[in-house]
Subunit: 348 residues, 2 copies
């Protein structure tokens, strides 16, 4: 077990590694910011554990180390960002910045992203908009892991949806996969030898299984109402891939390789809404404040607690900002290797 | 059992009843169109069974019989529709028409709706946009029926989300409540004396129950991952109520009365996206066509079938357009009463 690392030190290490493998300043900055969003808020599946993956993709040529990310405004409220095979965070932060600029002018800004790649935690980009006082929606499709409702093969990716509404203090922030659980949960259960919850994974015939060793695919959110989860996975396809002309999940090369040299041709979609163009910033702030108050005061089942989307994350973030972030053993080993290979100071 | 009624005859009866209780032409037209969307596509919970409800709300003064529905364009891509306490379909069709006009010009159109009421099937308004070649999102909050995740009281409404992408032939059309099941499913199970599926309803303490007679509230979509379903219910609150300054679900008067004279102050939200402002109409059409082909060809579990959102509805619609629509006994009795009270020809 390694000792906790301060967030600033961890971020500095990530930037140094990314720069060390040849990424330009903007890529190192944005890729690090997105991973740190995950690691600070307890979304560890999309945190700094991905550093080695991104370094490999930059070194292999899957990701462009110095992309020319270009924005084209197509109409007053819409545009397209061509990522030029950038690391996903580089393209997506840029797109969200443009969406917020469009929304400040047109009331709403919708930006499709082309030629991007794995973007990590969707909530990172929604947060960017919330910090500018905007409501936002972020989505991306990804390589196939999730069966359809009643389906028997991997079809959709885990296809996240993140939606936010700015609020005094922390925003209301939903960031969810449209599968019941992420795939690395299955891997975690394999390594710990425990059984999976009912209805989250299937064997190779599509039948439910709680055995992580025979789990071949994830189930869509919703159990017997999984047509809803699969439909939400489809929302990610429609906005990220269909609207942008990029690859559908079944056509996307696996994130884990073996090919780390070919760009993956992934799309994504971001949107921002300016409260001032609707009921007005003050009315919206009063509304979300009352909503969060009512929600947090709503009675819970015995021994349980009700929380707003994001509440668990803000609590984790407070602890990790104060006490640092503990790396899991696999990530710590990967960091030691990266430091050694690049001749830089280790962290943790 | 009554015999099936042809769709045109049913629609004509609805318009005659609505006009008979004093609704203006636009209200009768739009209210009927939304209910017929439900009845033709097999979404009977939001079909013509609501006619008596709307007639009562128009007669009682909850709904304005001749509303002045006003659109204000706030920015290039955004606007607000003041429903003037119109029946919900009247305000929402108007808002979607404006959203499509905005999208045709600005690439995206987002319209908040104020002073509206129960709008029936969200998919009806998404379909309007799809018919104009637009992608769309429609949502509305509603009076409390659904507990929070781990919650022990009714909090959110069933808060639907509908998202569509136009496609050759029928569109890709998702229209879902963010609860696992609608409340009238509980009522149906009560009347038939059968047990509910696991995890869809709770007793007065919030604990799961399969007994429809002790079910006091619905569970959010997702079972043990109900924080996702509750979060999606929150999306409806944030867009429909917070962004518009209208009532949150816990503040909305019950749909079922007893007060049928006071307007309910409900909001809603619609958005349209023009494919021509993103990858282009042809690319989007090719993408959605390939997506639907891949999806429908994806292998199913033994004895099952995979379907795209909407596929079940298009099949039902074909049958009902050919063979007519059979009214359930309660609706048939209500129609007979309405016909008698208004001195018009009965239907069915």
């Amino acid at each position: 077990m390694t000792s906790p690392v301060q967030a600033d030190d961890l971020a500095q290490f990530c930037r140094t590694v990314l720069t060390g493998v040849g990424a330009d300043h903007e890529t190192a900055r944005d890729c690090t910011a997105s991973m740190m969003h995950g690691s600070i808020h307890g979304v560890d599946s999309h945190g700094v554990r991905l550093l080695g993956h991104y370094a490999k993709a930059l070194q292999g040529g899957r990701l462009n180390k110095a992309p020319k990310v270009e924005f084209t405004r197509t109409r007053a409220g819409s545009g397209m960002v061509n990522g030029d095979n950038a690391q996903g965070a580089r393209a997506t932060y840029a797109a969200m910045d443009h969406a917020c600029d469009l929304a400040a002018e047109a009331g709403v800004g919708a930006v499709g992203i082309t030629n991007s790649s794995h973007f990590g935690p969707a909530g990172a980009y929604a947060m960017r908009a919330a910090e500018r006082g905007m409501l936002a929606l972020v989505t991306c499709n990804s390589d196939s892991f999730v069966r359809l409702h009643d389906g028997a093969e991997r079809f959709h990716g885990t296809n996240p949806l993140s939606i936010t509404c700015p609020a005094p203090g922390n925003p209301w922030l939903l960031d969810m996969a449209t599968s019941a659980v992420p795939y690395n949960r299955v891997e975690l259960y394999r390594s710990t030898g425990t059984t999976l919850p009912e209805g989250v994974a299937s064997d190779s015939t599509g039948a439910d299984t709680t055995d992580p060793h025979v789990a071949e695919m994830l189930a869509p959110l919703g159990g017997m109402f999984g047509f809803k989860g699969a439909g939400l996975g489809g929302v990610a396809e429609v906005l990220s891939a269909v609207l942008t002309g990029m690859k559908l999940s079944p056509d996307i090369a696996p994130m884990g390789g073996p090919d780390f040299s070919t760009p993956r041709g992934m799309g994504a979609f971001v949107m921002a809404l300016d409260p001032a163009a609707f009921a007005g910033a003050e009315v919206v702030q009063a509304g979300v404040t009352r909503y969060l108050e009512l929600l947090r005061a709503s009675p819970a089942q015995p021994g349980r607690e009700v929380m707003a989307p994001g509440d668990r994350e803000w609590a984790v973030a407070q602890g990790r900002r104060e006490n640092g972030i503990t790396l899991d053993p696999v990530t710590a080993a990967s960091f030691a290797e990266l430091a050694h290979a690049l001749g830089i100071d280790p962290v943790g």
